[in-house]
Amino acid sequence: MLKKPFFWIMVATVIAFVVMPIFGGIGVRESLFLAAVYMILALNLNLMIGYTGYVNFGSIVFFGLGGTLGIYAITVMGWPLWAALIGAAVVVALLALLLGLGILRLRGAYFALATIGVVEATKSFVSNFDPFGGSTGMYISFSSYKPLGGPREALWIVYFLVIAVLAASLLLGYMIKRSRFGLGLFAIREDEDAAMVLGVKAPLFKAIIYSVSSILPAMAGVLFFFKNGVIQPDQAFELTLSIEAIVMLMLGGQGTVFGAALGGFAYEQFRGYLLTSATFSNFHLVIAGALLLLIVLFAPGGLTGWLHERWSLTRRVLE
């Protein structure tokens, strides 16, 4: 692994994320924070869509549920942040495993529809479930930031934790890609029936990757909402963000770690620009939609696919 150029590209990326805000200041940090969260979502969604070929429209449910459980642990049960992170990730992963064994019996469009149903069902359930604050959500008392040095200092710590989760996401995507398990997933993506006849235990593999792809987004959810100060079901289970994660993946190029990461980063920059530019802010949805349509129709491989078509070298370097 240490001999592969892409490994060092990933290391350099993470170092850049750590160093840039230290020199660039708070504004840079905030932009990178959101970019990192998007990259985490896209990288883990890539495990399902890019590696396994299952279109998960509801990946946001991991993020939202992780956030909800984590903030519950912090505000109601008084857990420290690190314990909430681990606790939320474990519970979400187990729930995803159980859910995955059920809904992954569906294929193609049926699976995609079911994942939409899961998001909506979970959102409306949490909105009515009083221990999680119902539709009002949960508020984090500012005193919860004391152990991290107060609200302002906590932002730095949360930022570095998110970068750690980002690093883990990059590494996870890379290692799965180069593993025997990953090979089995690719086989499922290409032709599930053929894969099973070749000996790939598809139902188990799918449920495991569904569960694995939930862990890091769940942690990102805890961190995001911890920083956010409040978690409300509308915000935690926003179907749009799930679909945006797919757009990021398409933009960067699905199936590659590089593409997922690049897509998440580029999308955040692009959206941030559209949203705050005077000219485009009214039309940002139109522009984003037109861009997506163009990618789907004319460049389904995304940026990475485009690069690979031009230079065969990139295929070996950008994995």
Partner: protein, 251 residues
């Protein structure tokens, strides 16, 4: 004695059509069994029933004495059964080597990735695809894809190989090449091979025994000579009474 595979009275109906009806047969190691019959006779369905792709309505399939009836395909693979598909199913967006490595990783031997890759390369040499190893499977010719099917199935070191029309759609040179591959496989590994084939000459020349399926039922089993001369077979399938001689006249 326990056979490599023993199939007892398997049946399958699809929405009113009896696709396979009470078929029984066995095979032993090192044997090549040919399976012939007209289109729609239920040959591929029989393959699907044996390899776990669809569960039979009735009947029992055992491998080396172990009941594998209705087992999921990947579990059947574990027991040492591998198959190819009549309509090829290459893993399109993966290279030839990766395709075969999948077979090696998840076949009977469950090799680790590195070992699997080495083994896959060996198998690619056997089937004559070594020079195409880094090509995406989607870019192979139809003959290449058929070889790939065989290579993937072989890569798991199966005890029993089910070949579903690996010769169909190939030109004479390619057919000769593929027959050579099958011969080599038998010689080198000594595994059992059950093959569906329409190309009579090939079946007759390769098989130790041949069985004939018609309307989902077993019509006859025996050596190629016996089957070729079996009156029911001649009537139902071959049609031409002089066919047998033509077939037996090996090139």
């Amino acid at each position: 004695m326990t056979h490599l595979i023993n199939v007892e009275g398997v049946s399958k109906r699809f929405s009113g059509v009896q696709a396979v009806n009470g078929v029984s047969f066995y095979m032993d190691e090192g044997e090549i069994l040919g399976l012939i019959g007209p289109n729609g006779a239920g040959k591929t369905t029989l393959f699907n029933l044996v390899s776990g792709v669809i569960p039979p309505d009735e009947g029992r399939v055992t491998m080396l004495g172990e009941d594998i009836t209705g087992m999921a395909p990947y579990n059947v693979v574990n027991r040492g059964l591998a198959r190819t598909h009549q309509i090829v199913k290459p893993l399109n967006d993966m290279t030839v080597l990766e395709n075969v490595t999948v077979g090696a990783c998840f076949g009977r031997e469950k090799l680790q990735l590195g070992k699997a890759r080495e083994h896959a390369l060996k198998v690619l040499h056997t089937v004559g695809l070594a020079d195409r190893k880094d090509v995406l499977a989607v870019h192979l010719t139809i003959a290449g894809k058929k070889r790939l099917e065989v290579a993937r199935a072989l890569a798991g070191n199966p005890r029993l190989l089910l070949l579903d029309e690996v010769l169909a759609g190939l030109n004479p040179t390619e057919v000769a090449g593929m027959i050579e591959v099958i011969r080599t496989v038998r010689k080198e590994t000594g595994i059992g091979i059950l093959m569906i084939e329409h190309l009579m000459q090939a079946v007759m020349s390769l098989s130790d025994r041949v069985m004939v399926l018609n309307f989902g039922e077993l019509l006859a089993t025996g050596t190629p000579e016996e089957v070729a001369n079996h009156p029911h077979v001649v009537e139902a399938y071959l049609g031409d009474p002089n066919m047998a001689e033509k077939l037996m006249a090996r090139q």
